[in-house]
Symmetry: C2
Subunit: 233 residues, 2 copies
């Protein structure tokens, strides 16, 4: 790894040349993503205990381990930008933990849908906002996305559950809607408090109409994902 | 990855040429190590919640993620040897879970000492038994050991706790002794039930005197480790 000073200098040069985005907003963005990954690790590791066998328990544990890999990269990037990772994550601890507290899976099926839906929503959000930030940060985000196909086992196993139990589809569909509702609710809390972050996203999108289109795209992809595994949105 | 058939053939050839060890015993050994790693992941991920800050929480989470990486390698090796990983791990679920249930950390200091002592004992055991098995298995075990220095943060943080609290040393020393006692107790249960595994280790060591020397070496290294972080055995 290059020294922080060298990286910081290089980054600022890149940002000045190609992106006028507020560095504090980029740190905010990396902070919420980093805490999201750390928290996802914690929750998936916990949910893995509900798996019906050791192989599936390990599959969710391995997905959790990927999240902590992303966390490390995001936190290192925060450091390279000259910010303190702990401070960068601090404003997002409460909303992220509130989301998880309100969406604690009670069954293995709920754990699978949460891993799949949560991963999908996060990946879509990553992809959208990655276009608004400096190139090194964008490369990092895209790298983190490259292994998000690790949710494939969740798709397969939800299919197994739906085939076993005729009532599972309606229960898990409801659960999927609740996950999205709680995610939107917490995102609104974050937006109300983090002006710089909102300006980065609105500025990146262009205007409020573009933001609305962004939300529509993310929602549309969520609906497609739910349909793909036999659930309704 | 080469095909299983090719690997299996290669392995058997190597074992026949250089090691007369019972393949069932090698699978047993890999099974207990694999379940140990999966369980270590689960427990460390859980214990990370006790960390006093996000950076330390992430440090223990990253250590947990390493364990699941080891798990995957061990389980793949079991498959290459033509055995079923779930069946290979099954006999060791109860003793490993009993060990953890009896040594559930109540404080961050206990979590750190458990991560450090547990990792150290496991690594020493790995190193000793690696010499008794076929070369590909040995290479795998040594590869898994290469990143066991990730416990360094635990050593540093135990030092921080000892400097802050004069009474911590005696409490954590007692805790360290309890961890080793429970590990030995569960190892004895395993030994009583798994003849092939015991024969592999006794056969590898040479005789019962050599086994006694092996236990002395592992205990000696544990005592050194405890001293190195200011705890007594």
């Amino acid at each position: 790894m290059k020294s922080c000073a060298a990286n910081r200098k290089g980054t600022v040069a890149v940002m000045t040349e190609t992106y006028p985005s507020d560095p504090a907003a980029v740190v905010d963005l990396l902070g919420v993503l980093a805490y999201g990954e750390l928290s996802a690790f914690d929750r998936m590791a916990h949910d893995a205990r509900m798996a019906p066998n050791t192989a599936l328990r390990a599959a969710l544990a391995e997905k959790a381990a990927l999240e902590i890999g992303h966390y490390r990269k995001l936190v290192d990037r925060i450091g390279e930008l000259g910010a303190d990772p702990q401070q960068a994550m601090a404003p997002f601890v409460v909303p992220v933990e509130t989301f998880h507290a309100r969406t604690e899976p009670k069954t293995w099926g709920e754990a699978l849908v949460k891993a799949y839906v949560g991963d999908g929503l996060a990946a879509d959000f990553y992809r959208e906002v990655a276009t608004y930030v400096d190139q090194p940060t964008r490369a990092l985000v895209n790298e983190a996305l490259a292994d998000s196909d690790k949710a494939e086992f969740a798709i397969r196993e939800v299919g197994v559950l739906l085939a076993q139990d005729q009532t599972a589809a309606s229960r898990l569909s409801l659960w999927g809607r609740r996950l999205v509702g709680e995610a939107i609710s917490q995102a609104q809390h974050v937006a109300a408090e983090r002006d710089a972050l909102v300006r980065l996203i609105v500025g990146g999108a262009g205007d409020l109409t573009a933001i609305s289109a962004l939300i529509d795209r993310i929602t549309g992809k969520h609906v497609e994902r739910m349909r793909a595994i036999g659930l309704r949105h």
